[in-house]
């Protein structure tokens, strides 16, 4: 367990350094810079008209479709990683079990291609 953790020490160091840099930049802006806010300065545009409505609007549901299809193939990718590592041990049975898995997902892929879910039109 300790050996595994040792491998990830650089990741931890990277995380800590990025945290320090982010805090330093935000903190420097907060404490060192002169801040004299007033109503005009805080408005979205110093010149021009204020926004008519909220910037957050309803999204098209097609973004969601693209996201969910991406997630599914992301999961497929996760299954491929351990398979690729152990392919020499699990033999033909493991190989063909993954192929069956891929065929099932390919059926779905062909379905969505023919349905036109991948096109934006």
């Amino acid at each position: 367990m300790q050996a595994i953790l040792g491998n990830y020490l650089p990741v931890l160091i990277f995380g800590v350094i990025s945290l320090i840099i982010a805090c330093a930049m935000l903190g420097a802006a907060l404490f060192c810079a002169k801040q004299k806010p007033y109503a005009e300065k805080n408005s979205p545009y110093e010149c021009g008209f204020p926004a008519f409505e909220d910037a957050r609007q309803l999204f098209d549901v097609r973004y969601y479709l693209v996201g969910i299809l991406f997630t599914i193939f992301d999961l497929e990718m996760v299954f491929l990683f351990p398979w690729a590592l152990t392919l020499s041990k699990i033999g033909m049975f493991g190989f063909f079990s993954m192929l069956a898995f891929l065929v099932v997902l390919t059926v779905g892929f062909i379905y969505e291609w023919c349905k036109g879910a991948l096109e934006w039109d």
């Binding site: 595994i4 996760v78 349905k115 036109g116």
Partner: protein, 244 residues
């Protein structure tokens, strides 16, 4: 010593961000706190020695699933007043669901006991020269093949369900059908007319334009004249002359 300190740091941040997910007013902030919670949970997985799960948590949950959460937040009604409108109406239903959840939790808590073998299994060292991912891989595809194939079917169902639920044809669709486009020949859509000097195109029976058949093979729900539409120039000219 170091792992213990890290454990407490990760655990505290995890719990705090989980609380923030629940209590934050802005739902986008809640989603981002959820990302923080996932990242800390992956740190906890690393400390427990499950490195594959840790990477998976970041790749799947912090990456893909959070995108879906954000999309749901964005497709939701953002107006808080309108959100609270149905509050009175749905309160009893929500209360019933909460009671069911609490009862389930209590049942689980009563019946839950630690397997005596766990302590022994935890003491066993990891297999030599066998990383986490390899250990998983040597089991999933052979020993647990049925569960693995079930996972594939579940993914297929999710894919088809998402398409069926969200994909609908719009009247403004102008989808390109590449095969049709390649099959088309110039004389199917255009015709050549020779025009004499000093004479209008009208005398020749019209102007250069795509043939009717061009629109005939267009998508059913696309713009443009339909196959049955009157497009012959001679009819229009007759109408014009009659009106004179």
């Amino acid at each position: 010593m170091m792992p213990i300190i890290l454990f407490y740091i990760f655990a505290v941040i995890l719990l705090l961000s989980a609380v923030m997910v629940v209590i934050s007013r802005n739902s986008v902030h809640a989603a981002l706190f959820l990302v923080l919670a996932f990242c800390n949970a992956s740190g906890l997985f690393l400390i427990a020695g499950a490195e594959f799960l840790a990477i998976l948590l970041i790749a799947i949950y912090a990456g893909a699933v959070m995108i879906l959460f954000l999309f749901i937040v964005m497709t939701m009604q953002t107006n808080l007043v309108q959100l609270k409108e149905g509050m009175q109406h749905y309160l009893p239903v929500g209360f019933c669901i909460a009671i069911v959840l609490v009862v389930e939790l209590i049942i689980v808590a009563i019946n839950w006991h630690i397997d005596p073998n766990v302590a022994e299994a935890a003491r066993q060292p990891l297999l030599q020269n066998m990383s986490n991912t390899k250990a998983l891989g040597s089991l999933i595809y052979t020993n647990y093949i049925f569960l693995f194939q079930m996972a594939g079917l579940v993914l297929l169902v999710a894919m088809i369900g998402a398409i069926v639920l969200t994909l609908r044809k719009r009247p403004t669709n102008r989808r390109q059908v590449v095969a049709r486009q390649h099959m088309r020949e110039p004389n199917q859509t255009l015709e050549m007319r020779s025009v004499e000097l000093n004479k209008g195109v009208d005398d020749l029976g019209g102007y250069l334009r795509p043939k009717e058949t061009y629109y005939g093979i267009a998508q059913e729900d696309s713009f443009g004249p339909k196959p049955g539409d009157k497009m012959d120039i001679t009819e229009k000219r007759q109408e014009r002359e009659q009106s004179k």
